[in-house]
Symmetry: C2
Subunit: 216 residues, 2 copies
């Protein structure tokens, strides 16, 4: 493994253009999103998913599922939004959907993170990406609503593949899960029967005694 400090090369030396320096600083900082863990499991249950690989999976989902979207969307705008939507977690951490206390101050923590992280960029680019993050948080456009629907479908698939996944591990109620999944109903209605049927089956079976199984 590399030994910190032993090769103290100065990579700023060639940057005659300070704007490039800001871009590079931001892109290197973004690497830290790979160490932010979500509650969602990988489909093989081997470990928790991180927010960087999650973001990649969302962009792939958006591209493949765009043909089902209920309102026309600008897919490049959706993609840009999904790529940056979790960057604030570098400072604020991932807040689990069903964690009431964590969600109480989530927006405040994430706003401060957005100021710092998008502030690493030149003002024009940073302002643009920060506005995209705010648009996502506000659910204010078809692009933001589609991005949220995709952000529900992907963890849903991970949960299906891990026999309920986070629903089994952390015990949200049926009503909480259906509310959480609602952007799928409104923005990807063709997928809603699949989602609602699985949720109903999961909670119906969860209520039954399951010999040999630890309590959910």
């Amino acid at each position: 493994m590399p030994q910190p400090g032993a090769f103290p090369l100065n990579y700023n030396v060639a940057m005659a253009n300070p704007r490039i320096g800001q871009h590079i600083t931001f892109l290197a900082e973004a690497d830290r999103l790979k160490n932010v863990l979500r509650r969602t499991l990988l489909t093989d249950s081997s470990r928790r998913e991180n927010s960087a690989e999650h973001s990649w999976h969302l962009v792939l989902c958006a591209m493949v599922l765009a043909e089902y979207v209920a309102e026309p969307v600008d897919l490049l705008r959706v993609t840009r939004m999904l790529v940056v939507h979790d960057l604030v977690e570098i400072d604020a951490g991932d807040t689990f959907a069903y964690d009431a206390s964590g969600n109480a101050d989530k927006l405040e923590r994430e706003r401060a993170a957005a100021v710092r992280i998008f502030g690493l960029l030149p003002a024009d680019v940073g302002g643009d990406l920060r506005a995209l993050w705010e648009e996502f948080e506000a659910h204010s456009t078809p692009e933001a609503r589609f991005a949220h629907a995709v952000d529900r479908v992907q963890p849903f698939l991970q949960n299906v593949k891990t026999r309920g996944g986070t629903w089994r591990l952390y015990g949200p109620t049926r009503e909480q899960v259906l509310e959480r999944m609602d952007p799928v109903r409104t923005m990807l209605p063709a997928l809603w029967p699949l989602v609602s049927d699985y949720v109903e089956q999961f909670f119906a079976r969860k209520a039954e005694p399951a010999p040999g199984l630890p309590s959910p």
Copy 2:
């Protein structure tokens, strides 16, 4: 942790639309890219990077660095290409850039993987994404060439942050590294002084005796 098989819910039950079933199968299969490890280290040297989080980072790099690109590109096309460009590694594994024997049969292994993985999708969508992967491999368009430049810059940054990273760990020559980085020179010329200066410094210092350091 979930116990495989204990909740055998059938998530196919609600899929009246078999096309959706193909989309869902592909998207769940894509999750496996998160377990494909590259040689590149995270910037904190804590572990190797996987190909899914790498792909996310490339899309972010493409969006931020598009203002420097030497030829006009369709950024949505670049993004779609980058998001799928490593999916073949689910079957074929990641082939290290400086591994001559691994690269000898790389294309053959990856072609077979492309047939299987993109073949999970409906023929129209799968054919479209497979063509994007082939375009990337062929370097045949400005979008493909920009995607390759971004695919060089991001590991370069990871190497800078880990004191040479894979160059220190695996020992490619200066000439191999410069050849590998050449898409940056042609497609992101504004970044080339930064890259070439760092490479020259790295190989100049590597040749010096470094007391207390293991050989590179």
